[in-house]
């Protein structure tokens, strides 16, 4: 009976509204969240996130389902932008609600680690000198692998 919202959109993320929605469940004493935003950098004009028309949403759904089972979550929000975004724009928002803080926080960590390397997105920075693809870092790959190894 998990409450969940999985959103893939080209529009601005409506973060406040989802947090309120998650906190409505009186059985949940803990709501943890994460928002990733376009970070200012020298010469950065915009960040572009490309996605796959079918596989990306499927991957987000699978990540949310896995987190729900693994951490016993009562509520999940996983929202991801695509398209071109200015500095300061939210790219991804994740929130987990459940009875206790440990599981809510772990659920958020798990989902952001998975979204970084296991969801079909491709990130491109538009800088003053042109476009540059951004690859996930080695640390990103290791973070995802660690979760796979410590199967609960």
């Amino acid at each position: 009976m998990t409450r969940q919202k999985i959103i893939l959109t080209g529009e601005a993320l409506d973060i406040g509204r989802w947090s309120d929605w998650l906190a409505e469940d009186p059985a949940c004493g803990a709501v943890a969240g994460f928002t990733g935003l376009v970070r200012a950098a020298q010469g950065l004009e915009a960040l572009e996130l490309q996605h796959h028309p079918v596989l990306t949403l499927q991957a987000l759904e699978r990540i949310a389902r896995d987190a729900t089972g693994r951490f016993g979550l009562a509520g999940v929000v996983l929202a991801h932008r695509h398209g071109r975004m200015a500095v300061g724009t939210p790219i991804v928002h994740i929130a987990c609600a459940c009875g206790h803080r440990r599981d809510a926080l772990a659920g958020v960590s798990y989902m952001i680690d998975m979204v970084k390397t296991r969801a079909p997105f491709w990130k491109r920075e538009w800088r003053t000198d042109g476009p540059h693809w951004i690859e996930p870092t080695q640390a990103d790959h290791e973070a995802a692998r660690r979760w796979m190894e410590e199967k609960t």
Partner: protein, 85 residues
């Protein structure tokens, strides 16, 4: 038969865009043969051999070790390593 190719992420730069279509009478039945054939047709296609690039056929990820059986009209997508969030 006609096959449609799609390229996602950095690999699309190497392949000169988001995709193209090709005709063939003898469709390749595994990843190595597919890339060898594409390399004939397109000079950037060697980069598709990178083992981190995943393949989806008709919007479904496939494990390419086992080989595959392509049909007329199939869409074969090459997905660069993901970088979300």
């Amino acid at each position: 038969m006609k096959l449609h190719f799609e390229f996602y992420g950095p690999i699309s730069d190497r392949m000169g865009g988001a995709g193209f279509s090709l005709e063939t009478d003898a469709a390749p039945q595994n990843r190595a043969a597919l890339i060898a054939w594409l390399s004939h047709e397109h000079e950037g296609a060697g980069a598709l051999g990178d083992s981190h690039i995943q393949i989806a056929i008709n919007d479904e990820l496939v494990r390419t070790e086992a080989g595959f059986d392509l049909s007329d009209g199939d869409r074969i997508a090459f997905l660069s390593p993901f970088s979300g969030g």
